[in-house]
Symmetry: C2
Subunit: 709 residues, 2 copies
């Protein structure tokens, strides 16, 4: 501990002006702190001796101030809630009237913009009310500061650094500061439910059918896009330097960082319209899968670029060692986060399989929620990326745990995360609208902005068309030109790009990037989102498709213009479509993972070698043996039209009917009621989700791979 | 802004020892801040000039530190999540085996205790790692501090005061500090969903039938209990002073404050068993209603007592002006919070009535959630009590809005708040277990603790028995002796008493109260909770009752020992049971409020005077006219057994069947699927909730009141 040095020259620079905050007060948090403070003040007031009159008055003043701050926080949060309420009501009106050119997220941004303008120009600047004090210390910033005020000790915690050049430049406005969140709120509170929901609601069948292409677009595509945008932007920056429009440093790594954050696509608007119009399911799977995975890639890529720090003095030149370290970091963080997510998903699957928790949907739902949240914390605690882990946890939960849940829990978990996702997403978008006017460090640079628009266009073109060409060499279901154009067109930017950009707005370069990202999001969501429906019809993309049906030749008003038609023989579709590596994984998943983690699949006693007999018997669910009936004709039809890809091979799932028979009936009345209508619910929900189905067989998989080999 | 004075005598007192935190770091919040810090440091590292090598190293150190802190936060939160997961799994085992002596909350406390012991005695004290610095200033504590570290500015925010006596006394332990939450987390995040759920799940029929008694117990009872406990404890404190066991001040107002916080009963354990065994519904309504409302009373009462500050020097003597001011504050805050809650509830009801939002359950649920949350913020922004407002909002939502929601939204909202309530409640109880060992300022005073146990026993006896006597004078359904004993026995303390006690632990008196409250909660939850089943059978209280059925004379193994039997004539039950003021309100509610706020009740055109014709036509829902069919025989039976009290008079609700007919079908496939099974769902859900029913009539209410008058 060290004393403060009051006589530092640095201090005089700030003395006259109110300080600027770099990481602005986290609203939710000060909501808590403000109150805590008030009570503390009240407590010390009541415990103080009667004689200390002046100190009591002082404490009352502090209390009043804290109370006032708490009120302001409540008002600010209320502003956002009213914004969301307004958005919900308006979007209802739009849906009601079938207006499709404006998505709810676009609307949330518009309302945010309006409120931002009001806050910016309608509220008075209250610079006089700032309660700050400056204090100088020698060495470095400590995380905790203890201040002695007339014999009483107050504790302060570090908020963050304030760039000295900015301290005097912008006027103070309490309201503007109040509606500005700590950027980490987005990463730690708002993004996880959005990303988890994306993983949990992946339409598995079409996702896995296009897995290879999706992985190619997400990994190769994002990397290509990142480097192309980064290099183009470096050119733009050079140009700006020549034109004298650049007032501060802007390194090559900054350009690459911009390339990484802006490569995270988020076609939420397009996908909503696809969903509503029931557009082609393969295109949907390609777009959705790519956008979900490239979010993960973009996060890890951007933090790898930040971690790129060459040794020696010349910190912004190329350094092979630092480069490979960054690549290593990328691979490490990505695989670590993936493992974390998969492991918690597998643990949840095991727990829900081997307990009879499904008799108590409330407990089951709570457990599901807690386990999914713990993925995030586990990954963060281990130094990986929580958001990425949450994504893979969601996919694992959907693939295994979902099958073990009771019917009620299935709908409960889906609905819970759906609501959380909806609220978080619209919150972020309305915050974006607000930020355009209330964020106080915008750097508008027309050259950079125009350059960025051109760069993202070229960057997307440079990965969609060449990649599609190479993919089409291996694909039987070619990705047609109209699909490629649509994918090119759907390169919207959204919540993830924004969250990555706002995370760090300390330097001039980052502020310029943030402003540009915000404008790109606005433009793409409004213009591209609005143009989706015309584009779909212009590109002749099929709409009105049953998402669980295979494409029939010509069942709607649009003409199918795909490179080749649907397969004639359904039976060997998977063989033809999938790469051998996927088929290997699929066989492993079907023969071992599914039987271990769920109540479905063939008994392990038949798939594992004989010497694992005891283990196999322990791990195999008793339901699997019950389900060993011969395949009926209507089942096979059902599976092919409704079921998961896996069902083509006679996969089986224990249905809720089977499990509800084992209800212990301890909450007797409600239990029996639940059972009554469960069959209807099964039907309804499973139809709604296009998920694994009521079939019940369990045969050793004789895999087409072997015919090939 | 003022410079820091390094040469103050106060500073030397702390210089040698690491500081103690008064308001401990809010875990969730520093989770955010920690990350923010890290990124800020990383940013400044990347934007800094290449030459500043030493400063870059320094920033890297800060970054590492922030990252470490973020990791520790994640680990701490993970601890709680694992605790909850363990609780869920164990409680499943208990429910599975029908073990009833230990409730999930009791179990959560036990696990919390175990982890608390491990953290306390199993982790090393890491006092050497504390990063603090002391700094002295003249006048008063500012809310923001700006620190100049070698030319860079860092912002600090005020955490709270640290009592100087405590600075050197307790060793530092990072882990213990990390698992300690800001007390305001309970009030602003965990309690609201619990309280809202309580209001939203009030069994309306039995609640309203016993409204008078419930209000009497909640208001008079809590006040009586508060003053009796306060006075008894003042005696105990005097005794302790004589015995020399009191080392610091303990005023009369402190005793009253203790009386207020400990008067908040929370018989969650008892009610869970009642629910499971289907114990007598009237007793359930009395206990549940009392506990829900007395939470609200206790909060407002305790803040009124804190606000009691007589003018002049003698701040702890009686002062009539200050007393009446406190009474005024009580009435003001209570009625203000009540109004806030009711108003947002009414607004939500109007919005859901006059829009067709029920076609989009997701939007509807999101709106419902946002409006309910806004109640809390609105009340806090206006200086009222958010938790109290949320309670009344919940009741209003259940009474009006619930009827306007779509079937899916009804179950969604119920399930959403059920999960939130479950998680929050078990979180609080496991935190309580943890706090017994990790809280670092316990004051164990055996005399005070024994005195408190005696006082709460006497305090409860002194309000249950006399009040029941007076209530029985006016009640037709007398509250029997066995009911009175059961109510006396069910005086458990829980989450609310804990949250009120932990809110302020600054002074010696408050610390002693906190420790005592914690022990009272432990004792009552474990011992009384465990003794509920034996007590029920010992007191001959009926179990196995259909909650929606009226008490039949002898339908189970227990003998009915109530003062008088069930009414012979069902028709005039309400007349006999309810006081005239309730009947007046009921008539107003039925004739005007229900028709305005919901799709049910008689058309306003028949109940409002003729000159309001236009207004009445605008406000009356078209469904009301459609519903004007004659009352069928099976309906009336149905109503009497299943419906709300109001249905006795031919009230009507628009059912989901009616409303699902008006689905616009824009999400065509899912929409039609939903409609398919909606009738089953209606049945199932309505049976489960004992709520308003499928009957449809709307007649002008000819009220029995008029026969009486």
């Amino acid at each position: 501990m060290e004393p403060c040095d009051a006589a530092r020259p640095g201090f005089d620079r700030v003395a006259g002006a109110p300080p600027r905050r770099l990481l602005l007060p986290p609203l939710l948090l000060s909501l808590l702190l403000g109150r805590g403070l008030r009570v503390a003040a009240a407590a010390s007031a009541s415990s103080g001796a009667a004689a200390e009159d002046s100190s009591a008055m002082e404490e009352l003043a502090t209390e009043k101030e804290a109370e006032e701050s708490h009120r302001q926080d409540s008002v600010s949060l209320l502003t956002f809630i009213l914004l969301l309420t307004l958005t919900i009501l308006t979007i209802w009106l739009f849906k009601h009237r079938r207006v499709r050119f404006l998505h709810e997220t676009g609307l949330a941004m518009i309302y945010g913009l309006i409120v931002g303008v009001i806050l910016r120009y309608g509220t008075p600047a209250t610079s006089g009310r700032d309660k700050s004090l400056s204090c100088t210390q020698e060495d470095r910033a400590f995380s905790t500061l203890l201040v002695n005020v007339s014999g009483k000790f107050f504790e302060y915690t570090l908020k963050g650094e304030i760039s000295p050049g900015k301290i005097n430049s912008v006027e103070q406005n309490d309201m503007l500061r109040k509606v500005t969140f700590d950027p980490e709120v987005f990463f730690n509170i708002l993004l996880p439910p959005i990303i988890f929901h994306a993983g949990y609601s992946l339409k598995k069948r079409h996702f896995f059918r296009n897995l290879g292409s999706i992985l190619a677009y997400a990994f190769l595509g994002t990397a290509v896009s990142c480097f192309i945008i980064g290099n183009l932007m470096y050119g733009v920056v050079k140009l700006m330097k020549i034109m004298g429009q650049l007032s501060d440093k802007f390194y090559y790594t900054d350009c690459l960082f911009f390339g990484a954050i802006i490569s995270a696509t988020d076609p939420v608007t397009v996908l909503a319209i696809f969903n509503e119009l029931h557009a082609d399911v393969d295109l949907y799977a390609l777009l959705f899968g790519e956008s979900v995975l490239n979010d993960a890639v973009a996060i890890v890529l951007s933090s790898s670029i930040v971690a790129y720090q060459p040794a020696g003095l010349n910190t912004h030149a190329f350094d092979a060692a630092a480069f490979f370290k960054s690549v290593g970091i990328f691979l490490g963080i990505f695989s670590g986060s993936f493992t974390m997510g998969a492991v918690t998903g597998v643990v949840t699957a095991l727990v829900t399989k081997f307990t009879k928790l499904h008799c108590f949907p409330l407990l089951e739902t709570a457990l599901f929620f807690l386990m999914s949240w713990s993925t995030f914390l586990l990954a963060e605690a281990c130094g990986f990326t929580g958001v990425v882990a949450v994504l893979f946890c969601g996919i694992t939960q959907a693939h295994y745990t979902y099958n073990n849940l009771s019917v009620e829990s299935r709908s409960r978990t889906k609905q819970l995360f759906e609501v959380l996702h909806f609220l978080a997403e619209n919150f972020i978008f309305s915050y974006m609208g607000l930020a355009l006017f209330t964020f106080q460090k915008h750097v508008f640079s027309p050259v950079f902005i125009i350059g960025a628009f051109v760069a993202i266009f070229l960057g997307r073109a440079a990965h969609i068309y060449p990649l599609s060409f190479f993919l089409n060499l291996g694909r039987r279901h070619k990705i047609g030109w109209n699909f490629q154009h649509m994918m090119m067109f759907s390169g919207l930017r959204g919540a993830m790009a924004f969250a990555l950009a706002i995370r760090d707005t300390a330097s001039y370069a980052r502020q310029m990037m943030f402003t540009t990202t915000l404008l790109i999001v606005f433009f793409t969501v409004w213009i591209i989102g609005g143009g989706t429906t015309p584009m779909l019809s212009w590109l002749n993309i099929r709409v009105g498709v049953d998402p669980d049906q295979d494409p029939p030749p010509n069942n709607d008003s649009f003409q199918v213009l795909q490179g080749d038609g649907p397969d004639s023989a359904r039976g060997n579709r998977t063989k033809q479509e999938s790469a051998w590596i996927f088929r290997l994984w699929y066989s492993f998943d079907h023969n071992y993972l599914k039987p271990i983690l769920t109540h479905s699949g063939p008994p392990l006693t038949t798939t594992l070698p004989a010497w694992c007999g005891l283990l196999a018997r322990c791990l195999t669910s008793p339901q699997v043996y019950d389900n060993q009936e011969p395949l009926r004709e209507e089942d096979s039809d059902f599976i092919l039209t409704e079921g998961d890809l896996t069902l083509t091979y006679g996969d089986s799932t224990v249905t809720a009917n089977g499990s509800s028979g084992s209800h212990t009936g301890s909450t007797s009345l409600e239990g029996s009621r639940r059972t009554k209508s469960s069959s209807e619910e099964v039907l309804e929900r499973d139809l709604g989700m296009g998920d694994q189905k009521v079939s019940s067989r369990g045969t050793r998989l004789v895999f087409p791979l072997e015919d090939n080999a």
